[in-house]
Symmetry: D2
Subunit: 235 residues, 4 copies
Amino acid sequence: MLELMQRSTFTDLIFLLHHDRVPSAGERRLLDAILIGVADHGSGAPSCAAARLAASGNRQSLSAAVAAGVLTIGDEHGGAGSGCMDLILEGLARVHQSHRAVADVAGELVAETRQRGSRVPGFGHRVHSEIDPRVAVLFDLAAREGLAGEGITFARALEQAISTQIKTIPLNIDGALAAILVDMGFPSAVGRLLFIIGRVAGISAEVLEEHTREKPMRIKVPVVYDGAPAKTGQE
Amino acid sequence: MLELMQRSTFTDLIFLLHHDRVPSAGERRLLDAILIGVADHGSGAPSCAAARLAASGNRQSLSAAVAAGVLTIGDEHGGAGSGCMDLILEGLARVHQSHRAVADVAGELVAETRQRGSRVPGFGHRVHSEIDPRVAVLFDLAAREGLAGEGITFARALEQAISTQIKTIPLNIDGALAAILVDMGFPSAVGRLLFIIGRVAGISAEVLEEHTREKPMRIKVPVVYDGAPAKTGQE
Amino acid sequence: MLELMQRSTFTDLIFLLHHDRVPSAGERRLLDAILIGVADHGSGAPSCAAARLAASGNRQSLSAAVAAGVLTIGDEHGGAGSGCMDLILEGLARVHQSHRAVADVAGELVAETRQRGSRVPGFGHRVHSEIDPRVAVLFDLAAREGLAGEGITFARALEQAISTQIKTIPLNIDGALAAILVDMGFPSAVGRLLFIIGRVAGISAEVLEEHTREKPMRIKVPVVYDGAPAKTGQE
Amino acid sequence: MLELMQRSTFTDLIFLLHHDRVPSAGERRLLDAILIGVADHGSGAPSCAAARLAASGNRQSLSAAVAAGVLTIGDEHGGAGSGCMDLILEGLARVHQSHRAVADVAGELVAETRQRGSRVPGFGHRVHSEIDPRVAVLFDLAAREGLAGEGITFARALEQAISTQIKTIPLNIDGALAAILVDMGFPSAVGRLLFIIGRVAGISAEVLEEHTREKPMRIKVPVVYDGAPAKTGQE
């Protein structure tokens, strides 16, 4: 570890702890870009909002507030990346096993996903109707570093199949980092964990701001209770 | 434990686990009322809102959502009860050590609290301007069960001292349960833990409703970010 | 809520918050027995050990320690009850849809579970080789209160099918409470939540003891790291 | 953010999110070394053990296991760094206010800490009896990068005062990073948060290993229950 402390970056260590080897310079550059890309998405994201609620009610423990933020991360929040990795890895396995064309397998997976009534994870965006500029940044980096592989190829084939079968729905940041993480040799569980590691940096900054700049218990949450009439009164 | 399962209530067990003896019938009645009183305060309370945010983003684990709710409980949210217990226990210690009058010691503690620029925990309420009806329920039960002791006496003396030194600010639910828990022989850390135990029942019901009736990621949290301009973009 | 505080027990409220009606006297008795039965299983259970580790390292927040304990509860720890509820509910659905005999459907489900290479949740026990005495207590209470229904019938049919297809593996406490919760009309998600609510009482008592009687950082955990040689040194 | 993704490291972003400016090359190097130094301390550390317990019982949520590990971080585990920062910052404030000599103020703070019956945070080590080699690595880096300032000077003065008043107890890794973080202009709350951010990388790797290589519920925790006889049976 002394040598790591002297010469390596935190990103090198994150790669090493989840991969059993140190990254190449290009892999380090891409992992840095990915961790930065997922770190912070504004105070309204569930991870940040829950952390601020805990920081607001429970000033006794910074770690409690960070943990509350982490706990909102799951299949629905932060899960599109690892979900898209599962899809790409399944697709590449079929390609290799049966020597079929990438486009055919991608079309098959999109059709199967639609039959289950699900959305294809890693595609589409609430804000960016055309294309998320972060996708271009990640793919340009991957190309420049010579790391664009069959993960990115398969992701693009999924995009094409969606466009053919449904309509044009571009790859988003989750789909882009999924393709790159596949090309760097990570399983999907690591995709989820890297999202958590990156997002903790953003959550931490939100907790710090809540502690140092805001009054306790300031946040009003307009959760609409649309169940049966409240049975036990209101505070 | 077999005997407990056959004859006791869950409230008996909670008392036993935190007191090293089973409760009397009156103590059981009061602890039931206290646990019910803190269980649920609407979806807007930080504990419930954070649990719903986690249930909304992370559908994979019911325990993660319950834990996120628990983590918002601390000095500022759910802490007034144990804070008021500390005050009452400190006051009673002074009364017994120095044989002074309850009213004098209560006045002294209120003055000290004001000098520190703090509010007296357990008094005042956002909604009920006059008196919280739950206070009357708890104190009536304590009187009827013959359990009103020096804890309640001291809490009333604090209320009187506040009225004299500041203005009329009635005891709230936290102050009432603090007085009763002191009279049942609990330390303040148990006050905090009993709040958590009671509130977990309410948090659990909110998590259940979010899972069974609501779509994922539906909650919009209007946390106003009033720091420096966002440095890393918006989701 | 004032009326609930005056007349009801905490167990009544727990039932009400998860069922939309108050329990009968018999249902209250059974739910009390179930919550007591799951509350505490010794300091070595993952829920209690993790809570003590957090109480030992992070003395600043009681709620952080309780939450750490809650987070260990999932499919593998505390999940056998809700897993068995899923099995019973699936079985009863097949019985009602196809008018088949309970014994046939139970045999079918046991065979399907074996084909998947899984154990049948709710059966077998590490300590009690013959029969867990808590099972008898719960089923006696259910019979005495007139609440034994098709849930218990189906659980017994599963036990018979296991005995025929594999060997004698008796119902355990998780299987017994699963059968009873089905007979009280709860879905399996509530089974998981009731386990959390009951266990929080036991976790809370462990946290209290760690805070009041033990030194910080006293717990040595012999987790054997059998991966690659440690890359970043030892503390 | 696009520019950050293209050119910056994750460590740059962590610095920026907690400091409101980008780091110099030397500051980046030091923060990398600090984050690596706190990331991983073996599976027996409370943060790693609690995370593995949650990963072992609750396989449904990676974020739940990471959060359980984070929750063990507090005053006693991971708190020595921020505790030492508080001491150094208090000392430097006294030096600047009263124009007294660093050695005098350091001696005064050590004496005050001893009077309270506390240990001086950031000094002494369980394993390294003489000097932790990581301390030398950090201080060498700080000197080489021209970043050694009054924080390091004050930490060395504390070490000297301890040696004079008690016995030789060398600075440990927590004390070294505390001195350097003070010299980089961070408040003590950020010290705690940076510990959490660094340690999350190590926790994540432990959770990954538990999920991919170990059976559920394998961990036996020898928590000795030395309280009253168990009241509710053993699992």
